[in-house]
Amino acid sequence: MATTDEKPVPAPESRFTVSPLTLAADRWMGRLIRIGGVGVVVAVLGMLGFLIFQVFPLFVGAKVSPTSSLAVPAEAVAFGEDEYGEFPFVVRRDGSILFQRAKDGTKLLEWTPALGERRVTAIRSYPRTGLVFLGLSDGAVQEVRVVYRSTFDDAGKRTVEPVVTPLEPVAIGRAGLPCVDVWDAKGPQSRLLLVRQEEGGKPLLTAVRLTERKGLGGKGKVTVSAPFVVAADAASVDQVLLPSTAESLLVIGRSGEVRAYADDGTAFTFLQSFTPFKGAADPAVAAAGLIFGNVSVVLVDRAGAQQVWSMYPQLQPDGKSLRRWGKIHEGEPLAGAGQGIYAAVGNKCYLAAAAGRLQLINMTTGTVRWEGPAPAAPLRQVAFAGGYDRITALTADGQLHRWAIVDHHPESSWRTFFGKIWYEGASAPAYAWQSSAGSDEFEPKYSLVPLFYGTVKGTFYALLFALPIALTAAVYVSQFLRPEYRQVVKPVMEVMASLPSVVLGFLAGLWLAPLVDPRLVSLFCAIGILAPAALSAGFLWSVLPQPVRRQVKPGMEFLWLLPFLALCAWAAWQAGPAIESCFFTVKDTATGLPIADFREWWRQTTGATYDSRNSLVVGFVMGFAVIPIVFTIAEDALSNVPDSLVSGSLALGASRWQTVWSVVVPTAVSGIVSAVMIGFGRAIGETMIVVMATGNTAVMDFNPFSGMRTLSANIAVELPEAAAGHTHYRALFLGACCLFLLTFVLNTVAEILRQRLRERYKVV
């Protein structure tokens, strides 16, 4: 070696010193990496935190706080108010109406009816519509309309001026008898005015219909029908419940018998009668109230027991299904005899007054959202404001009490999301997801259970298809295929993994589903034949003489297997229609002729539905999304089994298959488990394929020929149309939270399992 060109060695001191740059780089890179690691944890926790933050308000009860109390004349028996509650009015016993400013109680306006000889004997006020009905001493009824007219002056200051418009009294009841009570309701065609009178101690209910025909211009003309008696067969009348739609009528007798009548267009016909508290010591109904939507009624007895009855389709003895009243809930008993049931507007909550307590209760879930003391004096009238933000109550001591409600999610509770709930109008308790409908009275149903079910169902069918294929493919490619082909197959599978799932969903929904639909039997045959065909191909191969087999290099046998399988599948596909006509011929319900149709056969034989976009299509295509991931990870795990173990097994005289099954697979099992779990996670979270290839119906059956709605698809479909902050919006976030926790738990379990298996099968 030449020594002359050699550079002089550095001085000993500098040789051993570490440059500050090296140390600084080391330190800074260490910090940077730590920031990255902590950042990941923070991001995940932040996500969970955000979800919980969005979901949390769902589980907060209502806040109801008394705001003000206004002194009104003590003889006030009814009240009404404007939208903002600024200018309430009370109706005195004599029918005069007094407007006061809520802020300071100053008198704004006083109106007195001009009735001449007649007196006011009954008063009913509907605060939401501003209608006041005065029942008169001769059986007639005068309607008084209250309108608040707002004007703005130049400075933009709003002045509200109440306007009272009395209409001509309408004769309804038996002439000469005073009205005891009066009700009004607006049906689809006409309005109904109902009065109650007492005739010789017997109650008498009389009604008229008011039909308004709109003229071409100007005011409509109101036609008043001839008065007709309703519920004449009721032995006694304690309370009358007239739904705001006027389509039916509930008359509660003193004995606790509830008689239901229905408007058939001309008269109210008797529908059914029931005694809710039949077995109780005192079967009388102490308080009752119709709930918003008019198909449910809450009944409370004198002991405080609560029942909810609703109208739903019931099978009659003659086999017909008719809408009848039936009990759907028994609520938590109140503290004492029910004093009043007051329904909220816009949701299914009601205020129950009993034994000096007020409870705000959700009818559907039975949850008590708020409880507080009632005013000392008896309640005369209680009304919720239209926006469900205020309760106003008039008490017998001349006070108008008000409470402010803060209850953003009155329909939510744990039972709403996870429990089986008997919704009003439904024939049985159910887990249901139905977030919106056409009518305002519709009650949204937010059960996450069908979505969980759909998620599990979709995942099950996807994995049923994907796991056998992916895992056997991984074993084949890693253990049997020649390396040069393996180098091609693996990247191709990885490219498959990067296929956007929206493309797969598109293919599934628009191409595969219609293709598979008429040839279902063919498809089953073609898939079913593959395994036996592969086995028989192996058998045929093994009986071939050695010289022929030696022509094919080991690992190249697939060259002969593939055409064989393709041929078998093609033959099975072609044989499909013949098999269908052999086994699946049924009578066509429309024509009565026999037809070979698996779909019809399935419907008729199992009674289950058949949808074109069904779980099989989803499972098939979602399987395609899952296969590459499972395959890649499992193949890696299998390939990483040391050759020394394979050699050791082969040298002991084990066949390749024995080696794979008893040495390679157990050694790689931790990797295979994580492959399966990651595939599982992918299938659970998969969204676009499910959105596009299923009907997105939140059904609860495991029928392979029906669709599903998964948690993730549900979020994708509904989040864009959910109002931010609304229960629907938060329910979707709750779904996301559940999905997060589900995958989190699954991944954790998978990781623990993997670690244990790795410990057990670790290789030296």
Binding site: S644, S647, L650, G653, S662
Partner: protein, 274 residues
């Protein structure tokens, strides 16, 4: 360069006299055997006979083809791509390349112990009875008996008899290698191939395995590849020296170490190259 003609210095090496036993003298017969990995010729014109129930050591510097030859005796090289051979190897008169002979059956007859111990990630018991399991033995009593016999033969029984169901991966390096030997002899093969079985072991473990080879010789024909001259001298009856894929010399161990006929052999065993 030192002269190849100088007499071998054997003072360092203790040679065991060749114990001639009854049995076929050409139990394994290798005739004009050549072997290629792709284009690379790994073995050339090998011809040697291995007598029954003797220990034959293959020695030579790294890359001389001794391991390749060993691995061809049970056709483990079949797993490698692009291999080719010429000539023939017969065991008890039958060619190992006989189309009618399944390679699996050959390997059941010719057991192998590898350089690096490779116990399966299973229990000790399952490791030992693996060869019986793949043959299809289900009888628990039979398996237990075979396990005990093999472990006793491998001088491991006393150390592991109380923890047969523990993982084999918890054993020490020497124990693992003896477990691999026990595993290889559990199904009573006729020939045992050992590919540098002690190269990763400490002297005590090596001693135990060498003792073992002596005892196993009573029942098995053993071919051992080793880098250790002393080991070859201690355990083998006959020794073959390979160099660059060629068989330089094959004779009784005594002869090879005391009085080799080839200068290369002499140079190698006296430590002057390799």
């Amino acid at each position: 360069m030192p002269s190849l003609m100088t007499p071998p210095s054997t003072s360092r090496i203790q040679v065991r006299p060749a114990a001639e036993r009854e049995g076929r003298k050409d139990y394994i017969s290798i005739r004009d055997y050549g072997f290629w990995y792709g284009q690379k010729k790994a073995l050339e014109a090998i011809s040697l006979d291995i007598p029954e129930r003797q220990v034959v050591a293959f020695i030579g510097p790294s890359g001389c083809g001794k391991s390749t030859l060993l691995r061809n005796l049970n056709r483990m090289n079949d797993l490698v791509d692009g291999i080719r051979h010429e000539g023939d190897i017969t065991i008890n008169g039958r060619s190992i390349y006989d189309p009618g002979l399944e390679v699996i059956s050959l390997r059941r007859r010719v057991g192998m112990v590898f350089q690096k111990s490779n116990p399966f990630p299973k229990s000790i018991f399952e490791n030992v009875v693996y060869a019986l399991r793949v043959v299809g033995v289900r009888d628990r009593a039979l398996l237990e008996e075979a396990c005990e016999t093999s472990l006793r033969k491998a001088a491991l029984w006393d150390e592991v008899k109380d923890r047969l169901d523990d993982s084999a991966l918890g054993l020490s390096g020497g124990q693992m290698q003896r477990l691999c030997i026990a595993r290889a002899i559990a199904n009573r093969p006729e020939i045992l191939l050992m590919d540098e079985p002690c190269s990763a072991l400490d002297p005590i473990a090596t001693g135990k395995i060498e003792e073992l080879i002596h005892e196993l010789k009573e029942q098995f024909t053993i071919v051992i590849v080793t880098h250790s001259m002393q080991q070859a001298a201690r355990v083998s009856d006959r020794t073959a020296f390979f160099y660059l894929g060629k068989q330089i010399e094959y004779d009784t161990t005594e002869k090879i170490f005391m009085n080799p006929s080839q200068a290369q052999t002499e140079a190698y065993i006296s430590g002057r190259f390799g």
